[in-house]
Symmetry: C2
Subunit: 129 residues, 2 copies
């Protein structure tokens, strides 16, 4: 069984979904995510679905489940990178993802969670003219 | 054909490899990455291989190719999340990844590239006692 890797950036956990999610994979992801939130004390979870072009109601419910679960552990969930076709399908399925915050891309999602990323090469480092 | 999504955090591009890479996918990834470096002016590329448990010489060379290509476009490449078994295989294949920087995880990789991520919830926001 494939496991979706969970990355950590600051105090945000990042899950980038690229594989077709089987029911077992989704259940494993929820468990892994809960364990990582506890282990790292993360305050945010970002689920990136840029690569997802087909959703069904099971996946749709997964977002809501992860969001509710994370909230109980004091972490906020943001779903980022949703394609227009996916948004249309979710609405047609009657899943409006109430309680799940969304953002256009990863950077917007991190901004929503209040995480700031400093540029790798500051043009004018402090102390230099 | 599956395409590996490329995420952007600050001025770093993040590629998280989760699928078994076919030759075509690798070529597409290299093209996409080059295009994104130009489009975003990114100064760093992080390739996360946490989910990769099998490598062959083609994948090994991919890291070196991406690193060389990125360097020509003024972006530094860091490979993060390598499993011990993958490291052993690469050495056995005679691929020591010269010219490719590595780090244990995403956060270490971002630190290596000089990117700082600020905590989502500062305990003492500026201006408050």
């Amino acid at each position: 069984m494939e496991r979706v890797p969970i990355l950590k950036i600051g105090d945000v956990l990042l899950v980038s979904i690229q594989v077709d999610l089987q029911d077992q994979t989704v259940l494993a992801l929820q468990e892994d995510l809960a364990a990582r939130i506890v282990a790292t004390g993360a305050h945010g979870v970002i689920i990136d679905i840029t690569a997802v072009d087909i959703v069904d109601s099971f996946i749709g419910r997964m977002f809501a489940t992860i969001a509710s679960m994370s909230r109980l552990m004091d972490a906020e969930t943001v779903v980022v990178g949703m394609r227009p076709a996916v948004a249309i399908t979710l609405v047609e399925l009657g899943l409006s993802l109430g309680g799940v915050r969304t953002a256009l891309d990863l950077e917007e999602g991190m901004r929503l969670l209040g995480t700031r990323v400093a540029a790798a090469r500051p043009t004018h480092p402090a102390g230099t003219p």
